[in-house]
Amino acid sequence: MLKIKNLHATVGTTEILKGLSLEINAGEVHAIMGPNGAGKSTLASTIMGRSDYTVTKGSITFEGKNLLELDTHERVGEGIFLGFQYPVEIPGVSNLNFLRTALNSTRRYRGETDMSAADFMKLVRAKAAELKMDPEMLKRFVNVGFSGGEKKRNETVQMAVLDPKLAVLDETDSGLDIDALRIVADGINRQRRDDTAILMITHYQRLLDYVKPDFVHILVDGRIVKSGTKELAIELEEKGYADVA
């Protein structure tokens, strides 16, 4: 599904990704771990096409399409979702309005018609309930006054509604207590299917206890230096990056 080949990316004049390669197939759950500054967030941002990052070499293809040629919102239309590490607040825009606009934008990109208001409400309420989100929160402005955990749950509800083919989750577990972590993990697990893929970018192995990855990669200094299975994550936790990488 996702093929990243020898990716080099810079922010400003600094090169962060220095030849990263990765392949993710449908039905797989991957985890990328790495020390601070290794390039984890840069990878997520580059996959989504954030303008402050420049790809200088290499390629990213998604289901055969060259992702680098597409704008951010187009990549979403193709089926990629980014769960933010720090979801931003947008005063004045309600969660409902936001979600409906996002969903319909993606549908239009794919040549489908807008979802009816009634169907949309049914869908959102159902997903919110599954993830134990108080429906009242849907009426509030996007992330305004939400706690860290509530923001992350909001991200998972959005993911559930938009149902992406590939979900890239950037440090989704940071700042969560056990209860919030369980809810978020539940949301991620619900997204696991034969036709979807998940890429979790995480600092700690804790999340991986709840969402068991098929593959674990270690990202150090802009490249993937080692790949393995879940055991690798445990080894990492025990020994630290210096020893394992």
């Binding site: 989504m48 954030r50 303008s51 704008d71 951010t72 919102h73 979403v76 239309g77 980014l82 933010f84 979801p87 931003v88 607040e89 947008i90 005063p91 004045g92 825009v93 309005n97 936001f98 606009t101 996002a102 969903l103 934008s105 993606t106 990109y109 402005f141 996007v142 959005q158 938009l162």
Partner: protein, 424 residues
């Protein structure tokens, strides 16, 4: 140039003498005063941002009354008064039962039976006001008697058509008796002629009375709109004003508020949507003359390509006006490199036991918020429109009436469709 203008306008005044006899003396005096100072130039202090070069360069004949059907504003109104080129169009106007206690009149009629009230009309001010005094032809005169509460809004629609390079000088008054309540909507629209609408409204709100005032300035693309509102508030009264400035080529809108009684409360909100080549110069002047009064202002501007806005908000707190609470917020968002936003929130404080503050920000749409929206599949234009909508909605939320909220939101959406969503 002032001489040429003065003599031309003197001729116009001559044609108006005798039309409303009570005003004749005032007209002549105003014209004499105008001869000395003329139309304000860019060097005059509060005219730094708006250049009335077109008004200085040519004489504007008085627009003739004509027949137009204006595109209507949807809503459930207590009454509707449509003025076309300054003349009341009876056919398009109506007044329902809920307005039965309101005394509605028009300048020309009113001055016949109330000659002594002519001195209530302001005659001292800048060149714009002086010309208005000299050349005013018509306007509405509303009096809401004490205790009368009009539930539904009263709509006054000013339509201008076939008045290219002509001027309309209108003078209106609204009076609310003690404890009275009303909501007035002033809606300005016009064709694409380069007309000049010179509109002055004097409002007096007596003790315990409340007035909600919505102004939709949506003049034609080439119009010059100079508007002044003078509002006097007595004790315990309230004035809530909301202005949407989204039309015309050059809009200069002034609100002069005097808080003359304790516990008076004024709210002045404004959204300016500056489209290509438009200038919106919004000026407010709030005078806290007595203790314990409150003023609150919120101004937000969105500027598209080559748009220009200025917010000049002056708050004076006089020596005896202790325990005044005055606050102003002014935020501008530039959507294009060629736009220009200006702000001058001014405080003149002479009393010490007060709390006065103002804040101003100028910037652009939040990058992170934009990316967040795009990262959820929303295309860039739609994402920008969403954020602009959110920015402006925070001011619209301050309106108490849902009817008014809907009206304003509809106008906002029209603007967004045209300039941001590319649906023109």
């Amino acid at each position: 140039m002032t001489d040429q203008l003065s003599s031309a306008y003197a001729e116009q005044v001559d044609t108006l003498l005798g039309v409303i006899p009570a005003l004749d003396a005032g007209r002549k005096q105003a014209l004499d005063a105008f001869k000395k100072i003329g139309i304000p130039g860019k060097k005059a202090e509060n005219w730094r941002y708006a250049d009335l070069a077109n008004l200085r360069a040519a004489v504007y004949p008085i627009a003739t009354y004509s027949k137009h059907t204006a595109s209507a504003l949807e809503g459930d109104f207590a009454g509707k008064f449509v003025y076309v080129n300054g003349g009341l169009d009876e056919e398009q106007s109506f007044s329902s039962g809920c307005m039965s206690d309101v005394r509605v009149s028009h300048l020309s009629n009113f001055m016949v039976s109330n000659k002594n009230r002519a001195s209530d009309l302001l005659s001292d001010g800048d060149g714009i006001l002086l010309l208005n005094t000299a050349l005013m032809r018509e306007g509405f005169v509303f009096h809401v008697p004490a205790g009368v509460k009009v539930e539904k809004p009263i709509l006054i629609h000013h339509v201008v058509g076939d008045a290219d390079k002509a001027a309309l000088h209108l003078r209106h008054t609204i009076e609310l008796g003690e404890g009275a309540e009303a909501t007035i909507i002033e809606y300005f629209s016009g064709d694409d002629g380069a007309y000049w609408l010179n509109n002055i409204l004097q409002i007096r709100i007596s003790e315990n009375a409340k007035l909600n005032h919505l102004r939709l300035l949506m003049d034609g693309d080439n119009a010059t709109h100079t508007g002044k509102c003078f509002i006097d508030l007595d004790a315990h009264s309230r004035y809530s004003s909301f202005t949407v400035s989204a039309g015309g080529k050059m809009v200069r809108s002034e609100s002069h508020v005097r808080l003359l009684g304790e516990q008076a409360n004024v709210k002045l909100d404004c959204i300016a949507l500056a489209a290509p080549d438009q200038i919106h110069d919004i000026l407010t002047h709030v005078d806290h003359a007595v203790p314990n009064s409150i003023s609150n202002q919120m101004f937000r501007a969105v500027l598209a390509k080559k748009g220009k806005t200025a917010f000049q908000g002056k708050v004076i707190v006089r020596k005896d006006a202790q325990h005044t609470l005055a606050d102003q917020t002014c935020n501008s968002i530039l959507l294009d490199r060629t736009a220009e936003a200006n702000a001058k929130p001014e405080l003149e404080i002479w009393a010490d036991d007060v709390k006065c503050s103002h804040g101003a920000t100028v910037g652009q749409l939040d990058d992170k918020a934009l990316f967040y929206l795009m990262a959820r599949g929303i295309a860039p234009d739609a994402a920008r429109a969403m954020l602009v909508e959110a920015f402006v909605t925070q001011v619209i939320e301050r309106l108490e009436s849902d009817t008014l909220k809907m009206l304003v939101t509809a106008k906002l959406n029209q603007w967004l469709d045209t300039y941001l969503r590319g649906n023109r």
